[in-house]
């Protein structure tokens, strides 16, 4: 395939993926928005006013970056895992496998779809947060970079989950039992300075901590982790997961018989 033909193939998957989550916006865009508004009201307004300050900011201001990241993470992951598994389950993945499109284009198309939904939900949640607090932008470049890298990373994670999933139960196990706990323990609602030494050290093993803090740095200018180090950790995870995804596609594991 020529570079132009590869671009068309890639654009076809991206268009299909964006149309998919836009067509079912009641399932894909609305629920995370409602959930985040509830977080803003309950944790930010009702409980937050009693907590006072965290990291030198109002509690509401402190948790908003984490909640935005939480929605980006869950939606990037959720989009790819559900879309790719459905494609596999219905057999329509074969449409792509019989085509001359290289495997990396299939992966890139689905990842872009996941990033698009992550960004769409992230934008909606950010807009909604403005009804509850004022957001300063400390470093726009870091904000954009961290959101993009995080959504790419979790889209890759969703892809791996979908490849190994054999039932619809399998695509909800990781989000429920791994992703959600890691997100809650990733410094969304608190600074790790509040934790005893052991748990603060253990938290450093949680990759989500780096993303939440790097994003918080972009908005508030404060972080529990050095931003450069956080970006390095995210990059390493992206390279590792991308390589693994390509290995799965090239060997056909979970995809070809």
């Amino acid at each position: 395939m020529s570079a132009y033909e590869i671009y068309i193939a890639y654009a076809t998957i991206v268009r299909k993926e964006i149309q998919r989550f836009m067509r079912i916006w009641v399932q894909t865009l609305l629920p995370p928005s409602i959930i985040m508004v509830l977080y803003f009201i309950i944790f930010g307004n009702l409980i937050g006013t009693r907590i006072g300050q965290m990291g030198g900011f109002d509690y509401m201001q402190f948790i908003v970056p984490g909640l935005i990241m939480m929605s980006v993470i869950t939606n990037s992951y959720g989009n790819v895992v559900s879309s790719f598994y459905s494609t596999k389950y219905q057999g329509s993945l074969e449409e792509m496998l019989v085509s001359p499109m290289p495997n990396w284009v299939i992966l890139a198309g689905y990842i872009t779809g996941g990033v698009a939904r992550g960004l769409a939900v992230g934008t909606i949640v950010t807009s909604l947060s403005l009804f509850f607090t004022q957001l300063e932008i400390y470093n726009l470049g870091i904000i954009v970079l961290v959101v993009l890298m995080t959504s790419i990373l979790f889209s890759l994670g969703g892809f791996i989950n979908a490849v190994f999933a054999n039932s619809f139960d399998d695509i909800s196990i990781v989000p429920t039992f791994i992703l959600t706990p890691l997100t809650y323990l990733g410094g969304v609602f608190y600074s790790i300075d509040l934790l005893p030494n052991f748990w603060a050290g253990a938290s450093l093993l949680n990759p989500i901590l780096y993303m939440v803090n790097a994003f918080r740095y972009g908005i508030l200018g404060v972080s529990d982790i050095a931003v450069g180090y956080a970006l390095l950790v995210i990059s390493v995870f992206i390279v590792a997961l991308f390589s693994y995804c390509m290995h799965l596609l090239n060997t056909g594991k979970g995809i070809r018989k």
Binding site: A11, K16, E95, V98, S99, P100, G252, R256, K257
Partner: protein, 313 residues
């Protein structure tokens, strides 16, 4: 000579240890209408799965118009269109989108993809359904949608895995006419089917696969010549209580108005009618008991099973 499809020593052993293909070799000439027949589980779909890159082979080689799947998979895939046995499109997509997206996967620009899609959907009488969700189509329409999707990138080789399964006879005949037309226009077609009448009517060459081996590979005409006997059913005007005895023919009374006659290859049928007329028996119509190819197919597969039992004994 470059073949449309050239398979050499193809082996497939699944993870559970089942050997689905035992080193088969097969050649399909360009422009051919080729039938790959075999009983359920014989290895037909595995063979086509390997050719279309949906199944990983264990060993052997596959070339499509000279392009080796191990070396030049992209070119090989461009040459092929695949219509699988099971419906495998997104049931929530619109009919038109299913075809346009497939064109996109082959790198065809959207404007051209839309033009080709309209042309194919019109040819296959699906244009009126273009905005319907594909899940709402009837079984026959879904099969035609898969054919449109497989043809949108204008492949030189079309692979059809039981394309008329569960399709009513009228629609089946219209699909035969469509496939014959595109074959005449130069597209090589490989077909698997359980309707042996379909294979006999459409295909010029044939391979029969059983238990992972090719047990017959020859032109259809030559294969049919090997049939030694043929059974004909005669419908009688008057009822009989026993089969008449006519020298040189074996007649069996099926019921009081039907007689079965077994004819050997080359045996004429005129003297049979003369003898029946002399006996005062009037025949109102006649037909083959089974399709000729069906009879041959059953014999070959049964003999193969017997041979294998002998080997394993």
């Amino acid at each position: 000579m470059t073949y449309a499809l050239e398979i050499s020593q193809l082996h497939k052993i699944y993870d559970n240890g089942f050997e689905a293909l035992k080193g088969i070799s097969l050649k399909v000439e360009q422009g051919d209408f080729f039938a790959l027949l075999g009983p359920n589980g014989a290895g037909k779909s595995t063979t086509l799965g390997v050719v279309s890159s949906l199944v990983n082979k264990t060993s052997g080689s596959v070339k499509v118009f000279g392009h080796d799947l191990d070396i030049d998979v992209s070119q090989a895939k461009c040459m092929m269109g695949v219509v699988p046995q099971e419906f495998n499109f997104n049931m929530f997509e619109k009919v038109q989108d299913v075809v346009v997206q497939q064109a996109g996967y082959y790198g065809i620009p959207r404007v051209e993809a839309l033009r080709r899609t309209e042309q194919l959907l019109r040819q296959l009488s699906l244009w009126d359904k273009r905005d319907d969700a594909s899940r709402n189509l009837s079984g026959g329409m879904k099969r035609r949608l898969m054919i449109a999707r497989a043809l949108v990138h204008q492949p030189k080789l079309l692979i059809l895995d039981e394309p008329t399964a569960g399709v009513d006879i009228e629609l089946r005949r219209s699909m035969w006419a469509f496939l014959t037309r595109i074959n005449e226009q130069g597209t090589t077609i490989i077909l698997t089917t359980h309707y042996l009448e379909e294979a006999e009517n459409l295909c010029r060459n044939i391979a029969i696969i059983d238990q992972g081996d090719i047990i017959k590979h020859s032109p259809m005409r030559e294969l049919l010549k090997t049939i030694n006997t043929e059974t004909i059913v005669l419908d009688l005007k008057q009822a009989l209580t026993q089969a008449p005895t006519i020298e040189g023919y074996r007649l069996l009374l099926v019921n009081n108005t039907h007689i079965e006659v077994t004819l050997h290859r080359g045996q004429d049928i005129n003297s049979l009618f003369v003898a029946l007329t002399a006996e005062g028996i009037q025949v109102t119509s006649m037909r083959n008991k089974t399709n000729r190819l069906e009879e041959l197919f059953v014999n070959l597969v049964t003999n193969n099973k017997t041979d294998l039992k002998g080997v394993n004994a």
